[in-house]
Subunit: 340 residues, 2 copies
């Protein structure tokens, strides 16, 4: 079988928001399968904030995506043809095939998914890298305990929603922050957060202070920006700040002018014995991902840990969906169905 793929490559490095000129669509013929390879049809492409960092020339988490390379990303795919002993045609797998409709992959690099255990696309969200980011950041850094208060922003997203629900399982109070009344309502009624706040409210800072009468013990940092500024003064002595993302800052083209608040930040760290720790989930994936699935998958299957997805159809809509992600316009885990 020969097949073609439509893919989106990095055409130009963005300055600020990634405009349409940063992306180029290509239609190319895929090579005939070599021994051990599989041909995949991409069912779901995961869009995640870290991809913005890959578009820059500077090394961030990982090496930058090169100009002309397919935009990277986790994917769930159906095996159309297999020359690998580990998977057979018709099975669904997790792969890292990026922004395209089809792909050829090594059979050894994909992970077979069981559609009976959980919807396959959860391998990109609540039971995948974002969910594990929440788990690893709390287990290794945040360590919420009974009676403590945790705050997380982008709380309807795949990381934030898991952070809040895991913190509650540890006996902590979970305060979620999101943008807009629909999301706030979902945090309260849909996910059962102890408190939920809209960071767009004019009196957000006052609302936040009122929502954490005993201060903040864990701030799970995945957005940066104004939410960080509001939470920082409320952190208690011995507060912990796992830093896994700064989505609000990713499109910054320069540093804000005004005063340099670095001395104030360091003074706060010093006088309140705070811990800041940046991390990527891959640091602990080899040693803790199995624990994560064993603990969390049954809770998800039973509906005791909940999540929300935001599915966009058509690969051609990926760039705009990605811009929306960085601006907080998605509502739940953002997925693209490239072939829909």
């Amino acid at each position: 079988m020969t097949a073609a793929t439509t893919r989106i490559v990095l055409a130009k490095r963005p300055h600020g928001v990634p405009t349409d000129e940063c992306f180029r669509f290509e239609e190319v013929q895929l090579p005939t399968l070599a021994d051990g390879q599989v041909l995949l049809r991409i069912d779901y492409l995961s869009l995640d904030p870290y991809m913005r960092g890959r578009m820059n020339a500077a090394k961030s988490y990982a090496m930058p995506t090169e100009i002309g390379d397919t935009m990277p990303g986790g994917t769930v795919a159906t095996v159309l043809e297999s020359r690998s002993s580990s998977v057979t045609a018709g099975e669904q797998v997790l792969s890292y095939s990026g922004w395209q409709t089809h792909a050829v992959a090594d059979g050894a690099t994909v992970r077979r998914l069981d559609p009976a255990a959980a919807p396959v696309q959860t391998a990109l969200g609540v039971l995948g890298m974002p969910g594990f980011t929440a788990y690893a950041g709390l287990r290794n850094i945040g360590r919420p305990t009974a009676g403590e208060t945790l705050v997380v922003a982008a709380a309807t997203g795949p990381v934030g929603s898991m952070v809040g629900q895991l913190a509650q399982r540890a006996g902590a109070r979970a305060v979620g922050i999101a943008g807009g009344p629909d999301k706030v309502e979902f945090l309260r009624a849909g996910l059962g957060f102890d408190a939920a706040l809209d960071h767009r409210a004019p009196d957000f800072r006052e609302q936040l202070a009122a929502a954490v009468p005993e201060g903040v013990d864990v701030y799970f940092e995945n957005v940066g920006g104004g939410v960080f500024d509001a939470v920082f003064p409320l952190l208690n002595t011995f507060g912990r700040v796992p830093v896994c993302g700064l989505a609000a800052n990713y499109n910054l083209t320069g540093l804000p002018t005004g005063t340099d608040r670095v001395p104030a930040l360091l003074a706060g760290i010093l006088t309140r014995s705070l811990t800041f720790r940046g991390f990527i989930q891959s640091e602990w994936a080899a040693t803790q991902f199995d624990d994560f699935l064993a603990e969390v998958a049954p809770e998800v299957a039973a509906g005791r840990i909940r999540y929300r997805e935001d599915v966009v159809d058509g690969l051609e809509n990926a760039p705009e969906a990605f811009r929306g992600l960085l601006a907080g316009r998605n509502f739940g885990k953002l997925l693209v169905r490239p072939n829909a």
Copy 2:
């Protein structure tokens, strides 16, 4: 016996550098000893950067010193008279009597010192709070390992000199930073640091980069300011920054203008998986101070861990000596002999 003390009280909260008007000398009669109390003649008063924080109205590490209260500080004293069963007249003790010539203290709150084991004033420096600050920050946060590179500033001081020497015992390279050629020479020849740099050199940043060809794994932060700015870009992935002091910032009257580098600081923490952790030695004193003395005191006695003292005679010289400390003009652990 009745006795008088000359003491220095906080007269006015400083705005920036603590001027002479911030201090007032008082001569007062001490009360007759009650049961359990001791009368002390202060032999050594320790001057430390943390005292600057106590002079502010805002809570920092600890409650602020009140206007009219004696300036706080650790002291080594001789017992002139004792109504306590735990110490007898003529013994030397560690107490927390502050900036004065004499004091009355509860016998239960002083610690007897053995002049045969080590010079008594080391209980205020290399074998006291500053030395333990170095030990606790490395043991609990910095954790230097063989082959790693550690950087510490104010490296001729009582914290910095211990940090470097303990890091070397763990097999790490110790790079010390100090102000002026005499101090740099002492770091190299007197303390045996692997490299020593003068932060006042016009090409300090280039010198620092050249001195850490494999980057920085531990930056023991006790000064802040320009040294922090120079070290931060050199921190390696998984770098650790124990934050125990920010002496360069203590006299700031406002935040610097220009760009707000907080987003860049957070981005560095994120992309390099850095750990920042503020601390005060008291967090671990109850559980680790005995370990510290057991490990370090024999090394000091044998001359394998070295230190330097800067002794100022006369209580009247304490305010100027304290200003010098905050400006880095002392050379070694700063002590005042109030009765000399």
